[in-house]
Symmetry: none
Subunit: 249 residues, 2 copies
């Protein structure tokens, strides 16, 4: 049996059963466990399955991917969240994108604040459920499994029909020249619609994301009304942003 055949067989097995045991495969395919181990290693590197102790599992199986970022820079994100919250007043209508920064914002919202929140993000919506004085309105649509966000024409349509006070726009990358950029085209559409739907656009960004770029552009830097980072307000990195007429906190 060819190596290719064997790997295809393993992949298929993973697709059907969502998992394979190393021992089973070695047994079934009549090769040593080392061989299977090497196969799985390769397939893992090609991102066709996930290697785990004792075998492999399907990639789609545990799609919690956003939770992986969870720990990373959490402290900075809480800092940013606090700054964001300080801007809020009772009765305001918000629009929250997904992402861990907005998750943190949702988590830290004081329970006595009365707000209306639109969001297309399942985790954010869930988080907001525990705030008794927050009215949650979910922007529906096809849910992207990786980001757990509603996307597509339906979601964009709904966004086109609303106007909120403040949009907290989580972003992957922000750059003085390139503006706000994303790696996923559909997300770009969503974020464009969200900016349109909001009187004021605030971008909470951890400093690592400053001056980085992705493939697709959401908008120029001028279209952001305010930038919130965990850095001190007079940090060098922020001077240029301020000079472009963007409020920095």
């Amino acid at each position: 049996m060819l190596k290719e055949e064997r790997q295809q067989f393993i992949l298929n097995e993973v697709r059907v059963h969502n998992r394979v045991l190393l021992t089973d495969m070695a047994d079934l395919l009549k090769v040593s466990m080392d061989t299977i181990r090497r196969d799985i290693k390769e397939l893992h590197k090609e991102k066709k399955l996930k290697k785990v102790h004792g075998g492999a599992i399907s990639l789609g199986f545990n799609n919690y991917s956003f939770q992986f970022n969870e720990v990373y820079s959490l402290e900075k994100k809480s800092k940013i969240a606090v700054k964001c919250i300080s801007l809020l007043r009772n009765g305001q209508v918000l629009l929250l994108t997904g992402g861990t920064t907005n998750m943190e914002l949702a988590r830290m919202l004081p329970t006595n604040l009365t707000l209306t929140c639109f969001t297309p993000s399942l985790p954010v919506a869930n988080q907001l459920m525990s705030k008794p004085n927050v009215e949650v309105i979910f922007v529906g649509g096809k849910i992207a499994k990786d980001a757990q966000i509603a996307m597509g024409a339906a979601a964009v349509n709904i966004l086109n029909s609303i106007k909120v006070d403040i949009c907290f726009l989580g972003t992957h990358s922000i750059d003085l020249d390139e503006g706000l950029t994303e790696f996923d085209w559909e997300i770009v559409q969503m974020k464009k619609a969200m900016m349109q739907a909001s009187r004021k656009v605030i971008a909470p960004v951890i400093s690592e994301k400053l001056n980085t770029k992705q493939r697709y552009r959401i908008c120029d830097i001028q279209h952001i009304d305010m930038l919130i980072t965990e850095l001190d307000a007079n940090d060098d990195k922020l001077i240029e942003f301020r000079s472009k007429n963007i409020e920095v906190l």
Copy 2:
């Protein structure tokens, strides 16, 4: 069983029941309590659940309303869910209401089944996220905190614009004369719209709910295509339903 699988199972259990007992998991998964304890510890560190004395609880979810029904009649509900799932075929488009029975249905969906699922229920949508072959489309709108379901004009509008194969309509009360009834007016509107949006309406109902009534009516009993209960198909209680031309499983 792989470690990954076990942890996924625990996570899933937490998602559905909002909590797990260490002892239950050890028992169910046939491993020592130490192993479960270590699993929970890891998952806690990854912020996927919250470790507590004696087990773990969900972090994203606060279900005041769910927790009650959750335990109650769970076995019957799984039984019903199994029957429901047996009706499904690859490629079908479903519409799922909220409620614990549909939660159970979503939880038990085999991972290899390819479906498109519309739902206005946050917990159900969440549950469906873990099914790699299910396309989830959230019917957005204002979220009612108690039921964690989108409601209101926006949601009803969306429902009016779709047509699906099967609707699994969770119901509070069903009665031969009064038909399907609810105690909340808004929910009635949602359910009416859902029935309209579906070619086939299936009502999964635990036997306790048979021949009970509430204040507001959704529809006559004739508008249900099929009734699924945990009872044996020739149970006395069901004869009359069948005589009204409703298929009973």
